[in-house]
């Protein structure tokens, strides 16, 4: 099977491309900078470039679309252009090129208006209620993608929830960095139950979706480890793996949300490029439950996570042990093309 993977320079895109290569597929990666995936043909370009997109999809059987603008900061128009228009462009090009299957990699945040989520399955994407430009534009893009599902062009949406693992610049690095600086609080005593997805499991689920298009086309599926943990314990586990002290101070969640919102605005006005220290988005993530009903996902994909949370943390610890210090590959620009769950 000839498969195009967009956004393969990111953690998850790279893992997906590598898994497909391992499975013996003919893999092409497409993003703005080298993907570094051995065994894959590498095309460089942006989803904002129509000609580049059309030439990338030519001759493909399947497309896995991970390229997106992932950030808490930036102009709304930029999010629209990459996430909504870029997806629309890719969908049109793929359909025109006779591509049979397309997996749109989405995020549970497309259906989250900031309330606690305890054991729900994938709710419909809702751009009007999603918080922040990332979630809003991903929600709109998911609606476009699923609307494009048709006989002869099967489309599914997979929403991995908080993907992490060795090399992760989203959750792990941010947590470790803040904890090391003493800037990571435990909100509401850290009791909110949070599910996450270890990188290998997320990649396997996305690839499983491509193989199960007959059953999952037209649907949105949330993917996670199915091992929710109190957020305080989860953060402590990541800190332990990264060799930094765990957070010890506690802030009420509603205070953090309010402060986060202010900080976000001030930060945007200041024009600084790196991420602000505590965003409203992060405060919500750390103070309300986010865990999902995985029964339908697992049954439809015929997939279960191969790496448990504990095993994932052990691998994370091994990674930091091996790279002697967490800063070794902590680089990452705030405006890179990499997917992330939320």
């Amino acid at each position: 099977m000839r498969v195009l993977v967009t956004g393969a320079s990111g953690l998850l895109g790279g893992a997906v491309a590598r898994l497909l290569v391992e499975q013996g597929h003919e893999v092409t990666t497409f993003q703005r900078r080298p993907s570094g995936v051995p065994g894959a043909a590498d095309l460089h370009g942006s989803v904002t470039d129509d000609a580049a997109v059309r030439s990338a999809v030519a001759g493909m059987d399947g497309v896995i679309h991970l390229a997106a603008k992932v950030s808490f900061t930036g102009r709304p128009e930029d999010f629209d252009e990459v996430n909504i228009a870029g997806t629309a462009r890719l969908l049109a090009a793929a359909r025109d090129a006779g591509v049979r299957d397309l997996v749109f990699v989405s995020s549970p945040s497309v259906a989250n208006s900031g309330q606690a989520i305890a054991g729900l399955d994938a709710e419909p994407a809702d751009p009007a209620r999603a918080h922040g430009d990332y979630s809003r534009t991903k929600a709109a893009a998911e609606l476009l993608a699923l609307a494009a599902d048709a006989p002869g062009f099967r489309v599914t949406a997979v929403r991995p929830h908080i993907v992490w693992g060795p090399g992760d610049t989203q959750l792990v690095e941010r947590v470790l960095e803040r904890a090391a600086q003493g800037r990571l609080p435990l909100l509401d005593a850290g009791g909110a139950l949070i599910d996450t997805t270890y990188i290998d499991n997320a990649a396997a689920a996305i690839v499983a979706a491509l193989h199960r298009m007959d059953r999952v086309h037209g649907l949105a599926l949330v993917v996670s480890n199915g091992e929710p943990r109190p957020v305080g314990e989860l953060l402590a586990g990541i800190c332990a793996a990264g060799g930094v002290p765990a957070p010890a101070w506690s802030v009420p969640g509603r205070v953090a949300r309010a402060v986060g919102s202010l900080v976000e605005k001030a930060w945007l006005r200041s024009g600084r490029v790196e991420e602000p220290p505590m965003t409203r988005f992060l405060a919500e993530q750390l103070s309300t439950a986010h865990w999902f009903d995985q029964r339908r996902t697992r049954e439809l994909l015929d997939w279960t996570p191969a790496v448990s949370l504990d095993e994932g943390l052990a691998r994370l610890a091994a990674h930091y042990g091996a790279t002697s210090g967490r800063s070794a590959d902590a680089a990452g620009t705030p405006d890179r093309c990499a997917p992330s769950g939320s």
């Binding site: 305890a118 909100l187 005593a189 009791g191 909110a192 929710p228 109190p230 314990e233 865990w291 009903d293």
Partner: protein, 894 residues
């Protein structure tokens, strides 16, 4: 009138009917001859015909004041269900709902006639089941009495047909009837409507409230509401009094099936009126929805129970044309065990007649009171005669609020002797739970010590009140006390009247209350035969017999002492607080009678251990002579029994398992507990492990399970005894309860496996026939990986060092719940919070060994436990709390 805007109503049901009024035929009637009245009704007949469904009969539903046919919308929907088609006709009475505003004042008899006019016009030939609410209940019964040729059953919800003499009508109605308030409250304003709608628990949805209000938008449209209230006969001089009395008395002759569904939180139609109706229709099925109120049709799903009842009680009767109540009472074979008190009578006339039968201990360590067998028998007989003379007779409900001891023993056996039904609700339910239990059981007589009578007066429990001792006149007045047991005993001794006949074996004898650790306490009714069977089971299982001498520190079994022919002594303690039993008091009681058996709750025994250093050498000697120690009422940990063994070195330590509905079910001793643990560890006996081993079935009892399915329920009715199959525990025995009191639905559920009682506990049998309890059905967790029963994992967690009591609960939606372990730590944490990662990891690993994946571990300073036993963890409450904390809420206190 826009039917489309009434939530829950199919506009196709709404129609109008012009009906000739016959009330003009009588000059005193409100209508002139030839008058036609326009009715609005909800009727699903056309819809049934359209769908080709043949109804089994017709439900004729009559609303009260100030509602309308909208109240019955769920019945119309259910009647249209192809699974059980019934025609449902819900009427709007004239001047009410969307029926005609007649400008007349229609009294009760007019309204009964009006309803007959309507059913004539509709050609309703039957079979018809009437359904009524509020004053619509009276009108529906009036119609029923006038149309018995086509009547197949009656359903009543919060209504009344009779105002007992000398009892004031409810305060709320008194106010509504008051001339200063009446017109303004009911007609000029919509106050009466709003107040009625506010009686819903939980509050009505705004759209539903708007629908109830729709036909009563202005004063003119509310005239009927005011007239309805004015037609309530507050006393015998009222013009509608004769009509009401005719209904009330006529009802006694109805033999059709009857169903009463009640919301006890009703300021008007309280339990008092339910009791009155039960007295008139004693064959009725009754269900009280604890927590529901006046608008019970809004508060609870009444359609399912009504259609279940129709299928079970009415449809069959219609099919068979004749119901044969005699067949239902297939002569139960006599067990030949004799009445409960038979051994007492035998001993009182035998060689040991002057030996001590019952005694109670004083705080200083001596015997404060005692009776010989002869005296006990005499006192029981005297009091029985006295009670009988005071009107306490077969079926009279007597609530006993007397602490265990000589007085309670005498009054208990006297009540049983005259056939009264003894209601035993204890302070262990908490004041609120106790009050709810007493009100729900509607005792006719309340016998209590001073404190209980004061509570009765303060809380307004309606019953005749008898004190234990004779009280000064002033105190008697304050407490509303009529007489005393002391006086009744004297009267009985002086009287030469015969005792009433011995009550029939299958007549009700007692109502005991569950502890309410899984919902409101339930009344459990036993017959005399079942109480006698309980006595025989205990005797055979534990080898208790005449000559046994027992210290009774645990009420339920203690009362059976005289019935067993055993000498019993009550130690000095506050029985409502088990932790007040000291080692010294226990030893003193044992010494006083040379005890061979000790009964006590685990909480009491813990305190005995804690105070063991105060024992005197004589006390130790008395305890050395104990042959059997029995602890029950809550789970008894093995470690407690092991510690106790030192205290009573010669005793065999037993801990039976049972419930208020079946006392007891199994029995196990310490040696057997050790053996079971060894079997579980070795893995050699199939099914051994995962739970608390409670031993084998007691004498005369059988055990089985109804297997659990994926959603955590046990829907099947096939009893299974295969080793290792987890399910709801079923028990079959002669001493299992007769029924739940006024909880028809609960009773039906508990008895749905024919011949068995469904315990609500979950567990499994092992290959050696031992039962392993895994928790309560209500506490089963449905995780995505499968059903999780809590006890196995809890035991594994409690085995960790630094951990006290543990509880495993589920949070999140059924079927995909996350498992949370809530643990006490040693030493205790100061406030509830997520466990630190080290402890969480250990707890998770321990639970995993027991096959349970734990998501979150929370630590609490103390688990929430029940009041009665101080040992049963309220997992339902804990699950709610954990759900909130794990959603990101503040921990607070569970």
């Amino acid at each position: 009138m826009v039917a489309a805007t009434w939530p829950g109503v199919d506009p196709a049901w709404s129609r109008e009917v012009d009906v000739p009024s016959t009330s003009g035929l009588d000059v005193s009637g409100p209508d002139r001859a030839g008058t036609r009245r326009r009715w609005h009704i909800l009727d699903n007949a056309a819809q049934l015909a359209e769908r080709g469904l043949t109804p089994a009969g017709t439900l004729l539903c009559v609303h009260g004041n100030p509602t309308w046919s909208y109240l019955w919308r769920t019945l119309l929907a259910a009647g249209t269900d192809p699974a059980h088609p019934w025609r449902v006709v819900a009427v709007d009475q004239l001047d009410m709902g969307f029926s005609e505003r007649t400008g007349t004042f229609r009294r009760l008899q007019d309204r009964i006639d009006d309803l007959g006019n309507l059913t004539d016009e509709l050609g309703l030939t039957g079979p018809v089941v009437t359904v009524g609410h509020d004053w619509g209940g009276v009108i529906s019964l009036g119609w029923a009495l006038a149309h018995q040729d086509r009547l197949a059953g009656v359903v009543l919800t919060n209504t009344a047909v009779h105002q007992p003499a000398g009892v004031p009508i409810p305060a709320a109605l008194r106010l509504a009837l008051h001339p200063a308030v009446h017109r303004w409250g009911t007609t000029t304003s919509d106050a009466f409507l709003r107040v009625t709608h506010a009686l819903a628990h939980p509050a009505l949805d705004p759209a539903v409230r708007a629908a109830f209000m729709a036909p009563y938008r202005n004063a003119r449209r509310r005239a009927g509401v005011g007239n309805f209230v004015a037609d309530i006969p507050a006393d015998a001089s009222h013009p509608s009094y004769p009509a009401l009395t005719a209904v009330a008395e006529g009802v006694r002759g109805l033999s059709v099936p009857a169903l009463m569904l009640w919301g006890p939180r009703d300021p008007i139609f309280s339990d008092r009126y339910l009791k009155d109706l039960v007295g008139r229709l004693p064959h009725a099925q009754v269900h009280r929805f604890e927590g529901a109120g006046h608008l019970v049709a809004e508060d609870r799903n009444i359609a399912d129970p009504i259609f279940t009842w129709l299928a079970e009680r009415v449809s069959d009767a219609i099919a068979a044309e004749t119901a044969s109540p005699a067949a239902a009472e297939a002569a139960a074979e006599a067990t030949g065990t004799g009445p409960l008190w038979a051994p007492l009578t035998v001993l009182a006339s035998g060689p040991d007649a002057d030996q001590t039968a019952v005694a109670e201990m004083a705080p200083h360590g001596g015997v404060s009171r005692s009776l010989s067998w002869r005296e006990l028998d005499r006192r029981v007989t005297d009091l029985a005669r006295g009670l009988s003379g005071a009107g306490v007779a077969a079926g009279t409900r007597v609530s006993l609020m007397v602490p265990p001891g000589v007085d309670l023993t005498v009054v208990l056996y006297a009540c049983l002797r005259v056939g009264a039904v003894v209601v035993v609700a204890d302070a262990g339910l908490g004041l609120r739970g106790l009050s709810r239990a007493v009100r729900g059981a509607t005792p006719d007589v309340l016998i209590g010590i001073d404190k209980a009578l004061a509570a009765a007066a303060a809380l307004g429990w309606e019953a005749r009140r008898f004190s234990v001792r004779e009280l000064p006149a002033a105190r008697r007045r304050i407490l509303g006390v009529e007489t005393s047991l002391e006086r009744l005993g004297d009267t009985g001794a002086a009287a030469d009247a015969d005792l009433p006949p011995v009550p029939a074996a299958d007549s009700p004898a007692a109502v005991l209350f569950t502890s309410g650790s899984t919902g409101p306490a339930k009344g459990v009714q036993y017959t005399h035969r079942q109480l006698a069977a309980m006595r025989d089971t205990l005797a055979a299982t534990l080898d208790l017999r005449p000559g046994t001498r027992l210290v009774a520190g645990f009420a339920p079994f203690a009362l059976l002492g005289p019935a067993l022919g055993a000498v019993s002594v009550t130690p000095d303690m506050d029985v409502t607080r088990p932790r007040t039993l000291t080692a010294r008091a226990l030893a003193a009681a044992a010494a006083a009678i040379g005890a061979t058996v000790v009964f006590a709750s685990p909480a009491a025994l813990r305190n005995v251990l804690a105070t063991r250093d105060t024992l005197t050498p004589e006390g130790r000697q008395a305890l050395d002579a104990v042959e059997l120690l029995l602890s029950a009422g809550a789970p008894v940990p093995r470690s407690l029994l092991e510690d106790l063994q030192d205290l009573v070195p010669a005793a065999e330590l037993h801990t039976p398992y049972g419930m208020t509905e079946a006392l007891p079910v199994t029995d196990i001793n310490l040696a057997q507990i050790r053996e079971a643990a060894a079997d579980a560890a070795a893995g050699t006996v199939p099914g051994a492990g995962n739970g608390i081993c409670v031993g084998r079935a007691v004498h005369g009892a059988e055990l089985a399970v109804a297997p659990l399915v994926a959603d955590g329920t046990a829907p099947g009715n096939r009893p299974v005894t295969d080793a290792g199959v987890t399910g709801e525990i079923l028990v079959r025995a002669a001493h299992v309860k007769d029924s739940y009191d006024r909880l028809w639905l609960t009773q039906r559920e508990s008895a749905r496996t024919a011949g068995w009682h469904r315990t609500g506990d979950v567990g499994h049998l092992d290959a050696a026939g031992r039962l392993w309890v895994e928790g309560r059905m209500a506490h089963v967790v449905t995780a995505p990986g499968g059903v999780v029963t809590p006890v196995g994992a809890e035991q594994a967690i409690e085995a960790l060092s630094g951990v006290g009591l543990a509880a495993v609960v589920g949070v999140g939606p059924a079927g995909t719940q996350a498992v949370a372990a809530v643990v006490e730590t040693v030493p205790a944490v100061r406030k509830a919070e997520p466990a630190e990662p080290g402890l969480a990891g250990r707890v998770r690993a321990a639970a995993r060994q027991a096959g349970v994946e734990v998501s979150a571990v929370l630590t609490v300073p103390a688990q929430p436990t029940d009041i009665r036993h101080n040992a049963k963890i309220d997992r339902t409450r804990l699950a709610r709390w954990a759900g909130s904390v794990l959603a990101g809420g503040r921990p607070g206190t569970p």
